[in-house]
């Protein structure tokens, strides 16, 4: 059953249409990737979910009920522009956010300490935010969003600026939250990470949904990709004029090709053999980055 339903959101800022009838649903138990180019309307949508932006039209429901202030207290939010009190101790800060979302002082302090430990900040509870590195500040921000165990978790670019260990830690928590039956939405421009972490992806552009579905469905749909590597050949000039074949990518001598329906892989292999010894020849599903580019084109 969908937990979060976003229906027909509309919003203009002067002449700019930020949201143009945007609709999608977020189900409990899955990680939903919320993708789009800069200015597509992702942050406006997330702010609208929290009532931070007035809408011209549309509605947001959770479990079938219009979202109001009380229900929002069961949401967790990590905005794109990180926000913490610079001179407040980090455990006090996480406790404060927990209490604002309805926890008792004891619960908030206990859970806050647990989350800080989980995120690798054990022993630094009394440090002030401005004494921490960017990555650690991001961990405190995530702890603040998670401390009250929200049913709906909205994360705007939670992985940006993190080192690989940080990405692994926070990625694991995002997936774990979803597996516990919560609705998790996060936006990111790191599409390989999204492909690894997400079950479902919604891609928007100009305030409209241009692609939505499970990652498997999206990458399996469309033309297959053929990866070809020819010994001693570093470019794709040998295949560029081949009818029904489009070069998708040239990377370190490997050419990634999109074949139109009816184009024979045998004919491509023959063409490759005419320029040298073929060392790699394999069929692949689309990557999410290719789904993204094609959805926006």
């Amino acid at each position: 059953m969908p937990v979060l339903e976003i229906s027909g959101l509309r919003r203009r800022f002067g002449d700019l249409v930020a949201l143009d009838g945007l609709s999608f649903t977020v189900e409990a138990g899955v990680v939903t990737g919320f993708l789009g180019p800069n200015g597509a309307g992702k942050t406006t949508t997330m702010r609208a979910i929290f009532g931070l932006v007035d809408l011209d039209g549309g509605e947001i429901r959770v479990d079938g009920q219009i979202v109001d202030g009380e229900r929002r207290r069961r949401f967790g939010y990590m905005p794109e522009e990180r926000g913490l009190y610079p001179t407040m101790k980090i455990l006090d800060q996480v406790e404060y956010f927990g209490r604002l979302h309805g926890l008792s002082r004891r619960e908030a302090r206990t859970k806050g300490a647990q989350w800080l430990t989980r995120l690798g900040l054990e022993g630094r509870e009394d440090a002030k935010v401005d004494e921490l590195s960017h990555g650690n500040q991001q961990r405190v921000q995530l702890a603040s969003a998670l401390v009250h165990e929200p049913d709906v978790l909205i994360l705007d670019e939670p992985l940006s600026g993190l080192d690989p260990t940080g990405i692994d830690d926070i990625g694991a928590i995002i997936v774990e939250r979803a597996r516990e039956g919560r609705a998790v939405v996060f936006s990111s421009h790191q599409l390989d990470l999204v492909e690894n972490l997400c079950d479902v992806v919604t891609i928007i552009d100009h305030g409209r949904v241009v692609a939505h579905g499970s990652v498997d469905e999206l990458v399996s749909a469309g033309s297959p990709r053929l990866s070809v590597r020819v010994e001693g050949v570093r470019d794709a000039s040998w295949i560029e004029s081949f009818p029904g074949v489009t070069v998708s990518e040239v990377n370190g001598g490997a050419v990634r090709l999109v074949l139109d329906e009816g184009v024979s892989t045998d004919d491509v292999l023959t063409a490759a053999r005419t320029v040298g010894r073929v060392t790699e020849f394999s069929l692949h599903r689309r990557r999410l980055s290719e789904v993204f580019r094609e959805a926006l084109s």
Binding site: R47, F50, L52, G69, F75, P79, G83, Y85, Q141
Partner: protein, 436 residues
């Protein structure tokens, strides 16, 4: 009784009015099943209480607050104590007279000294040279010589001082006494002349009695101005810090703007009350210690009025400064935006100080006592002068409360629209019209 009638009455009215307004607003905004009023025990878990609690902890832990409280307490105590130094040490004049000086002369010295509040001790000096030597060596202040001369070191402080005035009067008295004795009057005639009383003066068109403000109000207005400026700045800086650090976006994901500002105003307001309480305690202790006339029998009414107007003024200006803080990210941007609101605060303060020491108050000043941006200083000034009755006082309170409710609504709207805006500085036209 006067405290009950003048302060608690309006205060109760204020509470009732605010409660009614808030309940009406809540009934319109929220379905009855989704929200209920927090009980007293739940208050510390209510968002508004949590925001207020954070503000209180942050302020009480700051060194600047401790220093500011101590400075205010010491300054107020000094204002009360220092003037009493003048009264606590009356002038003492050591007078030397020649042997055989008549008792009537010594009696005149005592009479004139008493009328100036001067203490005298009279001793006999054998000769003029001895008297002059004693004066030069500071063992004597004044010598009355048989040659009808008064000798001092430098006129007992000179003209315009108590000592100088005493000396002039004594010289005249002794001269008159000497002239009367030279007239060879009988003892009865002499006594009759010495008991001279001036004629009573009767004006057929009496002038308006000069009214001056109670010094307690004067001190209170100065302290109020300092504290309201300080606390309004705290509100401004606090809102601005939350905007520039972007923490406000996280906060508003779980709070309504009105809870955010309301919590901040309440928390800092309680800190302000604490500081006011400590300042008043400091004033009372200092007054009792030196027996200052500053705190008189009617001081409870004056203090109550000052405290009430301090709170009303604080709440009024807090919402205004919160709205300004939500529009800017840097202090230099805030200064130009806040200027139009600082001016009435400053003007009301200066005008009140001027009117407090004038013979009569102008009609404009009486009008300003009912104008919320200036009433916080003007109305206590009228109270201190005894120039306003309970009805006028209550009307001013009700006008101020109504204006504050209106300002709070407008300020919350501006805050909603402006607080998440980044980039170019907003102008008033942007936030008064546009949506978030």
């Amino acid at each position: 009784m006067s405290l009950l009638r003048h302060v608690l009455g309006p205060a109760l009215g204020l509470v009732v009015l605010t409660t009614v307004l808030l309940r009406r607003r809540r009934r319109r905004a929220t379905p009855p099943t989704t929200r209920r009023e927090p009980s007293t025990r739940e208050w510390t878990r209510h968002p508004l209480g949590l925001v207020a609690g954070r503000e209180i902890r942050q302020r009480l832990h700051s060194r600047s607050f401790t220093i500011s409280v101590l400075i205010t307490m010491v300054a107020v105590a000094a204002i009360i104590v220092v003037p009493t130094f003048h009264h606590s040490a009356p002038l003492h004049v050591r007078v030397g007279v020649a042997p055989g000086t008549p008792n009537s002369t010594v009696a005149l010295v005592h009479r004139d000294a008493h009328s100036f509040g001067v203490e005298v001790s009279v001793t006999t000096v054998s000769s003029r040279s001895v008297a002059e030597a004693a004066i030069r060596h500071h063992s004597l202040d004044l010598a009355i010589l048989p040659t009808s001369e008064l000798v001092t070191r430098s006129g007992l402080g000179g003209s315009g001082t108590t000592g100088g005035s005493f000396l002039s009067t004594l010289a005249l008295s002794l001269g008159q006494s000497s002239a009367l004795q030279a007239a060879h009057l009988s003892a009865t005639q002499l006594l009759t002349l010495q008991a001279t009383h001036p004629f009573s003066q009767i004006s057929l068109q009496p002038s308006t009695p000069r009214r001056h403000v109670d010094p307690l109000v004067l001190v209170g207005i100065i302290v109020m101005f300092m504290m309201i400026n300080q606390y309004a700045q705290w509100i401004l800086m606090g809102v601005m810090e939350e905007k520039s650090s972007r923490v406000v976006e996280v906060l508003l994901s779980g709070l309504r703007p009105v809870e955010m500002i309301g919590g901040k105003v309440s928390g800092i307001g309680l800190v302000a009350l604490l500081q006011s309480g400590l300042t008043i305690a400091s004033a009372l202790i200092a007054s009792l210690a030196v027996g200052s006339p500053l705190v008189r029998a009617h001081a409870s009414w004056t203090l109550g009025a000052l405290l009430l107007w301090f709170l009303l003024g604080y709440v009024f200006y807090s919402w205004v400064f919160a709205a300004v803080g939500s529009m800017v990210e840097r202090i230099d941007q805030a200064q130009s935006l806040v200027l139009p609101f600082s001016l009435p605060l400053m003007a009301g303060y200066i005008y009140s100080l001027v009117e407090a020491s004038s013979t009569t108050v102008s009609s404009l000043f009486r009008l300003l006592a009912y104008f919320p941006p200036t009433a916080l200083f003007a109305m206590p000034t009228l109270v201190g002068r005894g120039d306003v009755g309970p009805i006028g006082f209550t009307v001013a309170v009700l006008i101020d409360v109504a204006a504050t409710v209106l300002i709070a609504r407008v300020a919350a709207g501006i805050y909603r629209r402006a607080i998440l805006h980044t980039g170019a500085r907003l102008r008033w036209g942007d936030v008064l019209g546009r949506r978030r």
